[in-house]
Amino acid sequence: MAIEGADIVKAAACLGASISMGLGALGPGIGEGMVAAKACEAIGKNPSEAGLLTRTMLVGQAVTESTGIYSLVVALLLLFVV
């Protein structure tokens, strides 16, 4: 059975997409959790600033999310474009 070059390339793209998204989801998940954790503690200490703290938390999480989105984009590119 001869394995064709195109098949190996596509198989590697599938494996690469899964590794990209799998590992790429680890960091943002933990990081965003830490952001939310501190926001909860801060609201406990100063409930009157809850709105401001929630907004800051969401902005911080959005920035943290970016690497997760890079991983998603790379995974989708590997699956459907390359």
């Binding site: 799998g22 790429g24 989801a25 998940g29 959790g33 954790a37 909860c40 609201i43 406990g44 998603l72």
Partner: protein, 324 residues
């Protein structure tokens, strides 16, 4: 020298048993040591409560142990069950069952140790709260064990499913992917749930009046922590029960294996992050009960955002299973 299928099935069954028990022992040992360390500290702090502390240490250690016992059961089944040897697929089934249970026991056991340790310390601080602390510890530890139960279920389904008529390629990759998906995805959920339960026990000992709110928030947080493990279980089931047409090409096999790796790795981070959030939310509520509703709301928003990367991983897994 020709080696027949039976030999290979035995090789992988014994390797799978080793993986299941070897990895499965890590978490329980860490958790029990952690609990005993806290119990020693607690007894030295308040020797008059030593009876209650000793009891809760043993109960907590027993719960943490159960994940390792699941792994032992799977290892025994792998070693001593007569499995059919009609197909080389069984080689991958044995390995996948071992991987699923071995990795699946780590997080659940480590997580269960956290509330047990915290309950011991709490009893030294507030001996009159021993009863509620023990109850809270039991609930929290029990929820931490669910990921190990997911792994056990996956292992048993893998071992006792009927594989007759399924093609070797690419089913081997789906089976291996299913084991990896459940096994890895449960690590974060177990540890994360334990972090929340630990803080709830500590908070209860610090502020006994907040006990009910803390238990409720703990359960809410732990429920969200379990979702990534449920994604992993879902992808596992899809992989186990999907049937692909026979093909010699490499791509379908790597897509199915990749789906498992992607979901397994991708679920651990968000689950751990959600656990860290829940831990701090419970701590904040125990210090300032009046802000409980604000804190719970922000906790849930923050958890939802942490969850997003886990959902991306699930989307990529589903694309790999159904689109590629």
């Amino acid at each position: 020298m020709a080696i027949d299928i039976q030999t290979w099935v035995n090789v992988s069954a014994f390797s799978g048993a080793g993986i299941a028990m070897g990895l499965g022992a890590i978490g329980a040992a860490v958790a029990e040591g952690n609990t005993a360390a806290s119990a020693n500290y607690a007894v030295s702090r308040n020797p008059s409560a030593s009876g209650e502390i000793f009891k809760s240490m043993l109960v907590g250690q027993a719960i943490a142990e159960s994940a390792a016992i699941f792994a032992l059961v799977v290892a025994m089944v792998l070693m001593f069950s007569p499995f059919p040897s009609d197909s080389l697929l069984w080689v991958f089934v044995m390995l996948a069952a071992g991987i699923s249970m071995g990795f699946g026991a780590i997080g659940a056991a480590i997580g269960s140790g956290f509330p047990a340790a915290a309950a011991c310390e709490g009893m030294a601080r507030q001996p009159e709260m021993s009863g509620p602390l023990a109850t809270n510890m039991l609930i929290g530890s029990a929820v931490c064990q669910t990921p190990a139960i997911f792994a056990l279920v996956t292992s048993f389904i893998l071992m006792f499913k009927d594989y007759t008529g399924l093609p070797l390629a690419p089913t081997w990759a789906a089976i291996l992917g299913a084991g990896i998906s459940t096994g890895l995805s449960t690590i974060g959920s177990g540890v994360g749930g334990g972090l929340i339960a630990r803080e709830s026990c500590l908070g209860m000992a610090r502020q006994p009046l907040t006990a009910t709110t803390l238990t409720n928030t703990m359960l809410l947080g732990q429920a969200v922590t379990q979702t990534p493990a449920i994604y992993g279980l879902l992808i596992s089931f899809m992989l186990i029960f999907s049937s692909s047409p026979e093909t010699a090409a490499l791509t379908p096999a790597m897509a199915l294996l990749g789906a498992g790796i992607c979901m397994g790795l991708g679920a651990s981070g968000p689950a751990l992050g959600i656990g860290i959030t829940g831990q701090s939310a419970v701590k904040a509520i125990s210090r300032n009960l009046t802000a409980a509703s604000d804190i719970t709301r922000v906790m849930l928003i923050g958890m939802a955002v942490s969850e997003s990367t886990g959902i991306y991983a699930m989307v990529i897994s589903l694309c790999l299973i159904f689109v590629v």
